[in-house]
């Protein structure tokens, strides 16, 4: 899957904005949004928030967890913990990327937030590589991946599943084999 598609899924997440216009409720297929009252915060999907922002129709209030201190704590936790800690959002990486990209003027400490999130990502990715390696060397055939977020999972795809697929192939040999040549023998000579 392309990272853009992961981001596309992340765009469904809601974010608070402060509109500078008044408008009634809009009934979208994915759910109703609004009403919009100038100056009053309202939650809408990120895809819409970014478009309204581009049109200078709103100010984006970042997600609650987009706070430098909170993120630094998360980073420390992640460093200490052997397993993956729970992230504030399944799309934390793409949300930061999108919201800070579109509204760094609205969200305080944008650069520090970006750095902190990148650090968290790096710690988690190196943890992931180590655990993948350990997993492959074990005899395991199934792994639990709790708290891994959408973009992180996507980043080890197709590497991890493909490697496991090949290991299964290598293991299965000796049993039935799938290629045409192996069937050669069973094919009747009578056809000649």
């Amino acid at each position: 899957m392309d990272p853009n598609e992961v981001e596309f899924l992340g765009e469904k997440q809601l974010v608070s904005i402060v509109p500078n216009f008044n408008f009634d409720m809009i009934h979208l297929i994915s759910g109703s949004i609004g009403p919009f009252r100038a100056g009053l915060p309202v939650k809408i999907p990120i895809w819409l928030a970014i478009n309204l922002k581009q049109q200078h129709k709103c100010r984006i209030i970042g997600q609650e967890w987009m706070d430098v201190e909170d993120l630094k704590n998360i980073k420390e936790e992640e460093k200490k913990s052997k397993v993956f800690t729970k992230m504030p959002s399944n799309h934390y990486m793409d949300e930061v990327h999108m919201l800070l990209g579109a509204a760094s003027d609205d969200i305080p400490n944008a650069d520090e937030i970006r750095t902190a999130v990148k650090d968290i990502w790096d710690i988690r990715m190196s943890k992931l590589r180590t655990s993948i390696n350990a997993f492959l060397k074990s005899e395991g055939t199934h792994a639990k991946l709790d708290h891994l977020t959408a973009m992180e999972i996507n980043n080890v795809r197709p590497l991890l599943p493909h490697a496991l697929d090949q290991m299964v192939r290598l293991q299965q040999i000796g049993q039935a084999s799938a290629t045409a040549d192996s069937r050669e023998e069973s094919q009747n000579m009578s056809s000649i």
């Binding site: 899957m1 009934h27 895809w47 819409l48 599943p161 697929d165």
Partner: protein, 221 residues
Amino acid sequence: MEEVDEVVEENAEFLEESDEDGGVTAQSVLQDIENAWLNEKFAPEILPHQSDAVECMLQQISHMEDNMKSLGKGSMKSLIHQMEINRIRFIISSYLRCRLEKIEQYAMHILTEEAQRGREDGYLSSDELRFAKDYLSSIELLFRTLALQHMPNVLQKFEIETMTVKPNIHAHVFLRANKRITGIIVPGTVDEEVDFEEGSQHIVQYSAVADLVKNGDIQLI
């Protein structure tokens, strides 16, 4: 203007209301399609079609677009609706494209399996089935024209048995359990039995969870 607005949203609202009687909402149909899209993207084999949901959603979209024409171009409201429609259209196209790719790649296999299923529980929609048949016969024709007919008699056969390309159902997939599931057998050197907690994420061979993906207990991610 108000009236037109209402017309545009009539459908969405109508469906929303029907939810109270336990029916489906446009919102839930959309979620179903999105889930089907992701499952189709990640599952190695082709999954049962969802053409009812797709048709319903496309109808919804085309009504909305018709009604939007009277809304006035460039109005904020129509632009917002248009943006959402584009998102939905992308999901549907990507979903159907993904199915077409599988149909082409595994045409022979899929048609063989499909022949063993009843018309009611076929995995392909009738239009997909026609596409699959046309596609396969066009390949057969080309093979015949350029090669098979020039080969010695005994070798002219289009050998279904050897030539069928099959999906690798032992491919590994990422998944999330939609509910608690117990006793999943994970194949391996020693078959292992595992339980999935609700909301937990795993990587496992598709063959171990194929049925659970099809009945909605498991979402591929």
